[in-house]
């Protein structure tokens, strides 16, 4: 054991041992020489005699080395040193190869670390793999009575908790703030298993009506509004004018809910009160933890039985209830784009490998003579392969080190540049798994780019190389085939990447050309909340809203202004079913349904949303007039096909009878690219909910203003106008309509950007590859071309010959790439809009771009070929 460590130590400290050995041998020889001198020999004779007596010095040293450390390690050390020196001898090659590898490895590591954090790591709750959601269609909300029935009837879940959106105003605390939070059932936090940093979870019974005025804060809210006060527990907090007691603060990393209402900063108990019987108002998100040993399939089967039973008793209330793993809801949308980008960087790395392999082949060509000499001196073929491979290992190691640095900076830049919130992106780090990945791809890389050239180089014909003096007029056919194969595969890979990027670009332009129905330019919006203020009172709210809009209209630079409950594309989306008068009562669950928005007079004019028939909602549509509604074209087509809906009447629960007075153009609703759905607009002046008679759940208005100039410039003037009424009114979500659209399209734009960048890198690498191969091939064929020219070949013919070689390779590569892209096409389907993944235009354009790049890359060497002076060429060889 002791000897093992001594040997091990010598692997790394070989220099010292080597020096000692030399010194010892020298002294040994000196002593021998002395002896011979004493016997009467001259110093010179004695020196020679000593040498003879001693035997081979090199052999002795070699024996010494083998014994003092491990032979293989000793060899590796030597190979590394040798490789290092030979890499330094060709700094240009080394720099380019390192750059290509660092780029490939770094990009892969960066994207992988995002994939690892976002897709692979479990969610940050206790045993998060057992957490599921139970929702309509997997994502939609659920009613209180259904939740209670499921909770009480199931045997699959350890716990089933509910959460409901809550956005209270923090008042009597300057500045006032509109907060995002959740009402949660008492069992929800214990189910997640994350303990508060301070204080406690809600206690049993605290989610009963009357006992629910307690609140748990997020770390960020605690820090922002309470200066991280360590004695915060038990202190009061004024929300919507009601007093809450702070009972806990969650740790910094804690986030809930993870896929919807992700910005929640405070949690209060969810008390159902009278709503316990409510079966049609869907507002709860249900979270569950599977019992140990219960599988997802078992839970799904049980829920199917329970909901089928409830559906029979309460038709239309329990359809399509889906149990989904929580994680799937969190990362489901981002999975495809992320994997797509990971695939793209994988391609970039392959191309980088092909490029480095090229350069290595060219280099071993130049090093033929050196290799032959080593072989002649007794190095075995395996030994030479190992030596060259070690050199490649050094390259890959250097590339990996630089790649690590690049990935470290790259992930930071990527997260900063990402215009969309990628769930869990804040947990991205170069962790153990990422390092394992790095080691893995580095090993793969070195095998891909380094193995074949090393074997090929060592397999050269020894005597042939020596005779040719390393210049080899006849490059071996096999090596040429390998190079051609590399170029072709580079083009094929680049083709696939360019198709991906091209499709994203086409899809993006298709998205850009969508008409939202209204004019989104020069529109500014902001949410003004009145909850907890004196403006919230039922009597005062209508006057306040009207006066506010009048004041805004009077601002210089404002052309028009109005209000709405939820702004399209940015706000919430509420739907409601209704009945059409004069038609048979529809079966439960099959009544007409529509998105409904509540608008102040002037909304259609302000948004420039055209009324195609009838009239818009105006000032006179108030509580004294008959109830009116404007529907969109889609509602007209869906519910009054072939008829004129103007003058028709509908009835809505809790609102009453409404007469259709106008048809508006279809407008964007929630998703930018979604097909239009039926939508109805109610008059705010006729809505008791909106004006404050229906409780606190709608105590806000989204102000919209059309401006003559840049809308963002007017935001402070608008805020001042609001605050001139009451300094205590929270303003939030200040947004131009253009930004709202940009936010909706941020993800495809980001994906397009990433794929575009990677495809661009790939194109450059492939062009460099073909340039390298052509330049090398021309320099190898100098003699042949010289002979052709001297025999009368026209220079144009030479040019054509060389160009043709480059273009054929790119064409073959493109054909293979097109086939591959065709096969991979359906992977893209999910992220594309308005363009098929096998889009002909994209494929043809990519082919053209690649051919152009190949022509350009081949042109420079080709021109050089035409300038070959036959006399010089022949003399040189």
């Amino acid at each position: 054991m002791r000897r093992f460590w001594a040997r091990f130590h010598n692997v790394f400290d070989g220099g010292r041992a080597e020096w000692e050995l030399a010194r010892e041998v020298e002294s040994h020889l000196a002593l021998l020489q002395e002896t011979f001198e004493r016997r009467g020999l001259t110093p010179e004779e004695a020196r020679l005699a000593a040498r003879r007596e001693y035997g081979s010095i090199e052999q002795a040293k070699e024996l010494h080395r083998d014994t003092r450390s491990f032979p293989w390690a000793e060899q590796l050390r030597k190979d590394l040193r040798y490789g290092w020196r030979s890499l330094l001898r060709t700094p240009g090659f080394t720099a380019i190869a390192l750059f290509a590898l660092a780029l490939g490895i770094g990009a892969n590591l960066a994207i992988f670390s995002v994939v690892s954090a976002v897709l692979l790591n479990p969610l940050a709750y206790k045993n998060a793999d057992n957490l599921v959601t139970v929702l309509h269609h997997g994502t939609g909300p659920v009613s209180p009575a259904n939740y209670i029935d499921w909770r009480d009837q199931n045997r699959s879940f350890e716990a089933l908790g509910a959460a409901e959106f809550w956005s209270p105003n923090l008042v009597n605390n300057d500045p006032p703030e509109h907060l995002l939070g959740l009402h949660v059932t008492q069992n929800l936090f214990p189910m997640l298993g994350i303990h508060p940093l301070l204080g406690r979870w809600f206690a049993v019974g605290e989610d009963r009506k009357g006992a629910e005025h307690e609140v748990i804060l997020s770390y960020s809210l605690w820090a922002r509004r309470f200066g991280s006060d360590p004695k915060i527990l038990g202190k009061p907090m004024d929300l919507n004018g009601e007093e809450y007691t702070i009972v806990g603060v969650m740790p910094r990393e804690f986030k809930f809910a993870p896929f919807w209402a992700t910005g929640s900063e405070l949690w209060a108990p969810l008390a159902f009160g009278d709503r316990i019987e409510e079966r049609s108002g869907n507002s709860l998100r249900i979270f569950g933890r599977l019992k140990p040993g219960v599988s997802l399939a078992q839970a799904r089967a049980e829920m199917a039985i329970i909901t089928a039973r409830l559906e029979k008793r309460f038709p239309g209330t329990n359809r399509e209830i889906v149990v989904t793993p929580l994680k799937e809801n969190v990362v489901g949308n981002i999975e495809t784009p992320l994997l797509l980008v990971l695939g793209a960087v994988g391609f970039v790395l392959l191309i980088a490998c092909a490029n480095v392999a090229h350069m290595l082949l060219a280099r071993t060509g130049d090093r033929k003579r050196e290799i032959a000499v080593r072989a002649a001196l007794g190095a075995s073929r395996g030994r030479i392969t190992r030596q060259l491979f070690t050199e490649n290992l050094l390259l890959a190691g250097g590339g990996a080190a630089a790649g690590l640095l690049l990935a470290f900076l790259g992930t930071k830049a990527l997260i900063a540049a990402s215009p969309v919130y990628i769930p869990r992106v804040e947990t991205v780090a170069i962790d153990g798994r990422a390092i394992l990945f790095l080691i893995g791809i580095t090993a793969l890389t070195v095998i891909l780019f380094g193995l074949a050239p090393a074997i090929r180089a060592a397999a050269g014909n020894l005597s042939g190389s020596l005779k040719e003096g390393g210049r080899a007029g006849s490059d071996s056919m096999r090596r040429n085939r390998l190079r051609t194969f590399l170029v072709i595969s580079e083009f094929a890979l680049t083709f696939v990447l360019l198709v991906g990027a091209g499709l994203m670009i086409r899809s993006f332009f298709a998205l850009q050309s969508i008409n939202p129905g209204f004019d989104p330019h020069h529109v500014l919006s902001m949410i003004v909340s009145v909850a907890g203020s004196k403006e919230a009172d039922a009597g005062r709210r209508e006057i306040f809203y009207r006066q506010l809009i009048d004041h805004v209209r009077a601002l210089p630079g404002v052309q028009n202004a109005s209000g709405i409950n939820h702004l399209p594309l940015a706000g919430d989306l509420w739907t409601m079913s209704f009945a059409i008068e004069g038609r048979p009562k529809p079966r439960p669950g099959e009544a007409p349904e529509a998105v409904y928005r509540i608008v102040m007079p002037g909304y259609f004019e302000t948004m420039r949303l055209p009324i195609v028939r009838g009239r818009a909602i105006g000032d006179r549509d108030d509580s004294r007039a008959q109830g009116v509604v404007v529907i969109n074209e889609q509602a007209a087509v869906s519910y009054w096909p072939g008829k004129n809906p103007i003058g028709e009447r509908i009835a809505m629960d809790g609102i009453g009878r409404l007469t259709v007075v106008g048809i508006a153009k279809n407008a964007a609703e929630e998703d930018w690219a979604a097909k239009p759905a039926p939508e109805i607009y109610l008059s705010a002046l006729q809505s008791r909910d909106f004006l404050g008679d229906g409780g606190a759940h709608m105590a806000y208005i989204t102000l919209v203003a059309r401006t003559s100039g840049d809308p963002a410039q007017l935001s402070s003037a608008l805020k001042q106008t609001v605050w001139s009424f009451d300094r205590n009114l929270p303003i939030s979500d200040v947004l131009t309509m253009e930004d709202a659209i940009a936010n909706k399209n941020a993800e495809p734009r980001f994906e397009m950007f990433l794929l575009g960048v990677f495809a661009g890198i790939a194109l450059i690498l492939a062009a460099v590859g073909i340039y390298g191969v052509m330049a090398y091939s021309v320099s190898r064929r100098t003699k042949e071309i010289g002979i052709r020219i001297s025999l009368g070949a026209a220079r144009a013919e030479v040019l054509r010959m060389v160009l043709w070689q480059g273009v054929t390779q790119s064409l073959i590569g493109s054909a293979m790439g097109a086939a591959a892209a065709f096969l991979l096409a359906n992977l893209m389907e999910k992220v594309l809009y308005g363009v098929r993944p096998t889009d002909t235009v994209t494929f043809l354009s990519v082919g053209a771009i690649l051919s152009a790049a190949a022509l350009l890359a081949a042109y420079l060497p080709a021109r050089k070929a035409t300038r070959i002076d036959p006399m010089m060429a022949l003399r040189n060889e």
């Binding site: 002791r2 000897r3 001594a6 040997r7 000692e20 050995l21 010194r23 010892e24 041998v25 002294s27 040994h28 000196a30 002593l31 021998l32 002395e34 002896t35 007596e53 001693y54 035997g55 081979s56 010095i57 052999q59 002795a60 040293k61 024996l63 010494h64 083998d66 014994t67 003092r68």
Partner: protein, 115 residues
């Protein structure tokens, strides 16, 4: 190791360490050249080794902690690495000697009985 040199015998595998240790025990600290010379003298030139082949044994023994090398001056005022036997070396020598005696006795016995 040299073989086929007429009557000279090659060092039996594994015995070189034993011989070196014994030499150092009887003669005190010695440099490699002196050890090699001593071996030739004792064996009356029957034992022949390329002097360079002594090094692996010295390295091995030193790594095992049985001898310790240090740089000193010879009588003729030259630098040389002198090796001295350590306590562990003494112990190993005793064990190895015993083992060798048993082994050679056994071989001797077998050979004489078989004759």
């Amino acid at each position: 190791m040299s073989s086929g040199e007429g009557e000279r015998i090659a060092v039996l595998q594994g015995t070189l360490d034993l011989i070196v240790l014994r030499t150092l025990q009887t003669m005190g600290p010695q440099h490699a050249y002196a050890i090699a010379t001593r071996l030739q003298q004792v064996s009356e030139d029957l034992l022949h080794l390329n002097q360079g082949t002594l090094y692996p044994a010295l390295v091995r023994l030193e790594q095992q902690g049985r001898i310790k090398g240090s740089w000193r001056k010879t009588e003729t005022n030259r630098d040389a690495k002198f090796y001295a036997i350590t306590k562990a070396g003494e112990k190993a020598l005793a064990e190895e000697t015993l083992r060798w005696r048993r082994m050679s006795g056994l071989v001797e016995k077998l050979l004489s009985e078989g004759a």
